[in-house]
């Protein structure tokens, strides 16, 4: 249950970045790399609790999954990873190996968790 540590950083970062933007926050969109090991429901619950009493209270946390990108030093491939999605694992696991030449690869992205945008409702919206 490390989602509370992350939600706490998220709330802190949002409040800081949203200072110049008045209004009520209705939605927070974050992008989660597919390599990140983080539970969406746990993160949403943690966010909901930690947002209480702040401007973010009641905002919906929308978590968008972003595919990983890898680079192969052997053949120069750059792009998404193949996935192991056979019956054994029940969900798609990105495999860190080159889809064209099977060499070991470098991870370019896919481990991030970034705030992308928020939806703000201001008094002007009602007129």
């Amino acid at each position: 249950m490390h989602e509370y540590s992350i939600a706490s950083e998220l709330v802190k970062a949002l409040l800081e970045q949203l200072e110049p933007h008045p209004g009520r926050i209705t939605h927070v969109f974050v992008q989660k790399g597919e390599l990140r090991i983080l539970s969406d429901p746990a993160l949403r619950t943690a966010f909901e609790l930690l947002a209480r009493g702040t401007r973010l209270e009641g905002a919906d946390l929308v978590i968008e999954l972003v595919p990983a990108r890898i680079a192969c030093p052997a053949c120069g491939y750059e792009g998404p990873a193949d996935h192991a999605d056979d019956e054994v694992f029940h969900y798609a696991i990105p495999v860190l190996s080159c889809p064209t030449c099977d060499s070991a690869v470098k991870v370019l992205s896919g481990r991030e968790l970034c705030v992308d945008r928020v939806t703000v409702e201001t008094d002007d919206d009602e007129h």
Binding site: M1, H2, S5, I6, E9, L10, A13, L14, Q17, L18, H21, T26, V30, Q31, L35, R36, I37, L38, A84, V88, F89, I93, P94, V95, L96, S97, D102, A104, E112, L113, C114, V115, D116, R117, V118, T119, V120, E121, T122, D125
Partner: protein, 224 residues
């Protein structure tokens, strides 16, 4: 109603910066930092003890950070084995983070060390999101956790370069097929290194030391 686009900064930016700071600190001090993760009872501490025992006679100077939610049992074992150790109680927190490691290092004679073992809290999921700044990361699993261990945590093993399967001497007793664990791991991480150990009886430890790169980087050639 309108959308406000934000910096797109990593939520754990501060942690990543601190991990990078740790990495630079270790590198400047000439210390090879190794992070160990794995469930409670997988054998992380025993493996470090065995490595210390092998490195000590070669005059390799060893530091340890023993993280547990409470108590100092692992810390005392490391001290008894001859390491400079720091006990780090996370007080119910499920993982170490770069910030805590950063402070723990202040209590170690880091410039006098060659190798630093950072033993994470016994937990397999939470520590994965918190890089510490180590040069190598290893996940330890015990055969007693079952031969479906990799299938139950595929995402972690898909990103782990070195896996140590420990307590192989107990495989028969608990009815576990060690090959199945190794095959599952190879199927999702074709370039990963999978090692088998029985740390209690000092089996397979040379291979672990080699995979962690401690022999080649840290054993002074003049030591005898």
């Amino acid at each position: 109603m309108h959308d406000v686009r934000l910096h797109g900064e990593e939520v754990l930016k501060r942690q990543l910066e601190l991990a990078e700071e740790n990495r630079k600190r270790f590198s400047a001090a000439g210390v090879r930092a190794i992070s160990l993760m794995g469930a409670i009872g997988s054998g992380k501490t025993s493996i470090v003890e065995r490595l210390i025992a092998r490195l000590k006679p070669l005059h390799v100077r060893i530091g340890t950070i023993a993280a547990d939610s409470a108590g100092d049992d692992d810390h005392r074992r490391f001290v008894a084995a001859g390491a400079e150790s720091v006990n780090l109680n996370t007080q119910d927190d499920c993982h170490l983070d770069a910030h805590r490691v950063n402070h723990a290092v202040e209590h170690l004679p880091i410039d006098d060390l060659d190798v630093l073992f950072i033993e994470n809290v016994g937990n397999l999921i939470c520590p994965a999101d918190f890089p510490l700044g180590a040069a190598k990361e290893v996940v330890v699993i015990s055969v007693t956790e079952g031969d479906d261990m990799v299938r139950k945590h595929p995402k972690i093993f898909a990103q782990t370069d070195i896996v140590v399967i420990n307590k192989i001497d107990l495989a028969d007793a608990v009815g576990v097929d060690v090959r199945r664990i190794a095959e599952d791991y190879a199927s999702i991480n074709p370039h990963g290194v999978c090692l088998m150990t029985d740390a209690r009886h000092d089996v397979g430890m040379d291979e672990v030391a080699r995979a962690l790169g401690i022999e080649c980087t840290s054993i002074p050639s003049q030591a005898s």
